[in-house]
Symmetry: C2
């Protein structure tokens, strides 16, 4: 009750003033309503108690957010979904041989961290959507638990079959680790935080510094995100009342083996006792020991997980400010509010920035301004377990969203530092323009100028090589030339996924970071207000900057006669991706030739150490020349169409007649949906976007032109040819739409 | 006495047989006398007691070696030099604040390591030629203690002035660390072995594995090798009776500040207590802590070193087998016999391989064979303190050596694995031919085939990029094409230095390695017979291979009518170096432009974290275009001259008349001396070789075209122009000699 009163006390209203006449003045007025102090107070209250899905404080936070939106003049409601969300009934992990040592358990209270004393109802270390079980087995250390790691183990004669795999966090998406262990025959999985990643290898550990101490554990979801997100039992449709729920056994994204996360304090007790060969250099982390593979029977670990698999209720807060001119064109903006424990950085730092925007937009509205398009603000629930709130909402409202949504703008954790932006590249120029207009609070330069300086200074420090291939090199080059900085592609890991990759709604994801230390408390009980204020974004200065950044994007897209997208930037990006894919195919062909030549000459055996035997890489089918001609042609057409359209619109935008404007906007509003491949991507039809998807073996990290690129990487050469064609067809649809739009404008 | 009896018992003689008629049969007969069992027995005896300079067992080893050479039929003697060689009278290192902890002291006895119980007379942890002193001061962690590290510290406002610098071993030559600390104003220096380099970051620690345990300390010399090696008090001339000795204060290569080496067990007690800013990422080692710079007064360390600075006697064993045809053309081959404690790997593993060769050559001689040229075998003393035995010998006999020496072949520590060879590249083809004729004991392939397989397999594993720039890329390319593998340039760190870099005698340095773990016991009391037999080269199989490799080189050079050098290989190598230097100059110019552009735009300040301030790189004079035309022309002439000579000799070698042969050999014998720059290199006139020198800021690592390359790196642009000219002149002298030799042959 005290908690609710605290939240209610934060409700505030804003005085009336005159509506600013021009966009710049409007943005200035918007900025004036952004308050870091507001955000800090909201953060403290919202992060004061455990707020995972199903917790009382999470519901209270949703109700608080709802009340705020209403107080600020928004049409707001809570939309609920009943979803499968497991919580731990019992977890146990212990070393039983060569000696008995109890491991695991809740993280300890620290006097320097106030909320760590407030653990009633907090989740213990746990990963959602693992498979319950009770196993005792030998242990194999599998490094990051990714395909190359299993290849390295197999070359050393080590298998996880019938054993417990212990993997370290990092590199790939968390859920890949137990999934690949399970596929390799493991009976259980432990995922631990190696200190090289986010512990003392990175910084002083909490509470002296912000990095992960040896007793801190990263919780998370291990649902098979790369197959589909959302409620595992309602794939592709909303978990609305009456919807069919698959059984646990039928749900493809729930794992089958028991899995627990672990601190490095505990993990070192297992790893220090492992026998078997010395692990290869790429397996070595930051613990003060020589890492071995295990698997020789020296160690036995008992792992038990038992969960409550009942449905829990999600509370999405959906707030709307109807557009005065184009009410059926929606600009959607969201950030989740559920955390793993206190969730100060993840997600509340982003959520309070979003609340600031909503308050400021409400204040603008009170001066008489109304957006031209409808603005929808969404505070999602259940992001942490697997993007539940946003996915179920998007699946439920798919038809309406595909008709009305112009852009989805997402944020999540925020921190101190530099602007990061990814998403649909037709919005790249807009993001660059906004970045030039937002002031960095530490340097008083624009956040654009600061990011360019960072790219160039890092490149200089790294020897001036231009950041290697791909996005990094393009970014350094753009920073040097003064071109727009490229924005990267979206993989997965936050609430844009269903909108972008399932429905074809263009999306942006933004956040500041690089100077805070929030990774060190990620998904532990120490992701707290105290940690955030000391180590992540003191005073929430960057919370305010995030509000000003996203607010500008929202205002400019909502109010422009035609949303300010530039399709040439998308075309140039696709060209860069195609260049990468061609280089990949070529490198694969050369690598295959080298491997076979080395195999034929027995070179791997000659090069190996007979006292530390490593098998030669196995023979593989040579990479053929992939049929990329249609894709080449489609990209060339796209470049031409986009150039022509951008040029035509630039010439006529100011003078377009209303009828033509309406026709133009109708053609562009859902153009991103032409990129959806109806049958979806191989192994995962839910993902339909032809240009970007979470990598099957990266997870968070995007794979671009995924149907082609991953097929080459995984040696599915028939798929590579087929998806090159499907991707070309998608780009041709996109080009045709641009060509139609050009005809309207001319 | 028992020890001497043990050594004497190993004396053996070889039965007479018929002298092999042709070279191949001779090498087969040579191989038959090579015995790994011999080597193992010698190793056990010679490594049974401490054998540093001045120790009774080191003298006994010299006498044993002498007796063996004599028994095998060589003309052998011990040649002594009385040199300055300090030994510790008292060492003390302790933490005095924030708490008192005693550190340092001798390494402990291990039951698994027999000789570690035999520490009477053993050196405690100590570095020779440091500057005695007694200081108590705050501590600064300086990473590897190299120039870039001091730049990084300065950018963070940290100075070592008046403080004790603690540096980790690695990257650069040991002696650079206290030298640069001293130049930066430090009052003392500690050098410790970080576990990331050779401890648990590399392998299981001794005695479970071969890597360095937390109580093991690397001794060594810190004399300023890059200025000149040898007795610091007799620079450039032999320490013969009556020679003038400089005072300690006058000797440029003796440091002025007290310095001690340290284990990581002890160092972690200091490092864990350091305050100051978090150290930059490049400073982070393998200890389980967040590395800080220190320098804020939190820590005080007391460091005391007091040495006995008396002269000690070196015992070089010099054995000669006179040449029957060309007694005044010498093939010299050497390996030192002094160690830091027991010295099993370093140097005795190489020394016993050399003894095997001497025994086998003696056996050949007993069948009636005599070499065409004179063969000189040298077992050097005092290599560890600073190449004392070889340098004093070379300086003493400079005139005779410059008249007679055809080639010097050096070995030092040997281990299991792959052939490594560096040296004067006109011998590159010979080394490649020998490597094709020597069988690897683990794979039964030739050591050449195995090395090629390793280069190609590592390149494949690394992504097939060809090993980056420079030697690695050239090696991978040669391995793929079947060309001769390149041999790298010689820097310093073993006994070839005076002969090659001061006198201009061409040199080769050879050894096997890459699969043993000798680095983990390097210069500690655990560089023992037990460690060597378990972890480095069980059964000394690679000791025997080294003997067969070097023996072939000795035989082929000693018996060929004209030594089998190929000058085109040298010319191609110099061309590659020039290409590197040009790329360096170009990269420097571009880097200077980038830095100034970033400075002008305030980009470093914008990119920096205001809460972790790092100053921008300071302004520097822009790199001009260096005057390389003369050097370009000289390299082109060299390529032409070398090609013409190699072709001419190949056509006529079999049929050359004796008078022409004598004239030819006289022209070629000292051709390497044309590469000496009379005035020597900047700051270090002792080093005169125009093509290779130990790097001023690398030490062991060679810098090629050093007068030009280092001047560009260090922004001494007048030197760069000047040494480009001096180097061109040296190459022109070399070309002229080749042209004269071609005229003789044609």
């Amino acid at each position: 009750m005290i908690r609710t009163i605290t939240l209610a006390a934060l409700l505030s209203s804003t005085a009336l003033a005159a509506a600013p006449a021009d966009p710049a003045a409007r943005e200035k007025a918007f900025d004036a309503s952004i308050s870091a102090a507001d955000q800090q107070a909201w953060l403290k209250a919202m992060a004061s108690a455990p707020n995972h899905v199903g917790s009382p404080h999470n519901k209270a936070n949703a109700e608080f957010i709802l009340s705020q939106f209403k107080a600020w003049g928004w049409q707001a409601k809570i939309e609920t979904f009943d979803v499968l969300y497991p919580t731990p009934l019992e977890t146990r992990v212990e070393l039983v041989a060569p000696e008995k040592i109890s491991l695991g358990g809740q993280e300890p209270t620290l006097p320097e961290d106030a909320t760590s004393a407030n653990l009633a109802g907090a989740l213990p270390p746990y990963v959602a959507f693992q498979g319950d079980g009770d196993v005792t087995a030998d242990v194999v250390y599998v490094n990051y638990g990714l395909p190359d790691d299993y290849k390295a183990l197999a070359a050393r004669g080590i298998s996880v079959k019938g054993k417990i795999a212990i993997a370290r966090y990092g590199r790939g998406w968390r859920g890949l680790k137990p999934k690949l262990a399970q596929e390799a025959g493991a009976v259980g999985c432990i995922i631990y935080s190696d200190p090289a990643q986010d512990g003392y290898g990175d910084n002083d550990v909490y509470p002296k510094g912000g990095a992960r101490p040896d007793f801190s554990v990263q919780r998370g979801s291990v649902a098979d995100m790369i197959t589909y997100p959302g409620d595992p039992t309602t794939p592709g449709y909303g978990s609305v009342p009456g919807a069919k729920h698959l059984s646990r056994a039928e749900a493809a994204t729930i794992l089958k083996i028991p899995t627990l996360p672990m601190s490095y304090g505990d993990a070192s007790k297992i790893l220090a006792r492992l026998g078997g060969p010395l692990a290869p250099p790429s397996f070595r982390g930051g613990l003060p020991l020589a890492y071995h593979t295990g698997g020789d029977g020296k160690v036995q670990v008992h792992l038990l997980v038992k969960s409550d698999w009942s449905l829990k209720t999600l509370y999405n807060v959906i707030a709307t400010m109807p557009g005065k001119d184009r009410p059926d064109e929606w600009v959607i903006r969201g950030n989740h509010h559920d955390g793993w424990v206190f969730g100060a950085a993840d997600p509340l730092s982003g959520n309070v920035a979003m609340l600031s925007e909503a308050k400021a937009l409400g204040a603008l509205a009170k001066t008489g301004w109304r957006p031209s398009r409808t603005i929808v603000y969404a505070s999602w629930d259940g992001e942490e377990p697997m993007l539940l709130g946003s996915t179920e909402w998007a699946e439920t409202h798919a038809d309406e969203l595909q008709k009305k949504a112009v852009l989805y703008i997402n944020t999540d954790s925020n921190s101190r530092g530099f602007l990061g932006a990814e998403g649909s590249q037709q919005w790249q120029h807009l993001v660059n323009q906004v970045a030039k207009d937002v002031v960095d609070p530490q340097t008083r330069a624009s956040v654009d100028a600061r990011l360019r300086a960072k790219l160039r200074a890092d490149d200089f420090a790294g020897g001036g090589g231009g950041g290697g291939d791909g996005l990094g090199a393009r970014a350094v080059s753009a920073a040097e030339k003064g071109d727009d900085l490229p924005i990267g592609p979206l993989g997965s890991g936050s609430d844009y996924s269903a909108l972008l990759q399932h429905l074809g709604v263009p999306a942006l994801n933004l956040g500041y970071g690089g100077e805070g230390q929030s990774f060190g408390n990620y998904h532990s009980i120490y992701d707290s207000y105290d940690h955030y204020i000391r180590f992540d974004d003191p005073g929430l200065a960057y919370g305010a900057v995030l509000s000003k950044t996203v607010g500008r994007l929202v205002l400019r897209v909502a109010d422009a006669p035609t949303p300010p997208a530039r399709y040439g930037d998308f075309a140039a990006t696709v060209r860069a991706y195609l260049t990468e894919v061609k280089a990949l195919a070529e490198a694969r062909r050369k690598g295959d030739e080298k491997r076979e030549a080395l195999r034929a000459g027995n070179a791997f055996a000659l090069a190996g150490d007979p006292l530390d035997p490593v098998a030669a890489p196995p023979a593989e089918v040579a990479t053929p020349v992939v049929e990329l001609a249609a894709l080449e042609n489609a990209v060339a057409r796209l470049e031409g169409s986009a150039r022509a359209f951008d040029k035509a619109l630039a010439a006529k935008d100011a003078t377009l007649a209303p009828a033509a404007r309406a026709q133009l906007n109708a053609l562009l509003r859902d153009i991103e949906q032409t990129l959806l491949i109806p049958e979806g991507l191989p192994f995962r039809p839910w993902y339909r976007h032809a240009i970007t998807a979470p990598g099957r073996f990266t997870g968070y990290g995007a794979k671009t032109l995924p149907g082609v690129r991953e097929a080459i990487e995984e040696r599915r050469f028939a798929d590579a040819n087929r998806y090159a064609g499907l991707t070309a067809a998608a780009l041709d649809r996109y080009s045709a739409r641009l060509e139609a739009a050009t005809a309207v404008v001319k």
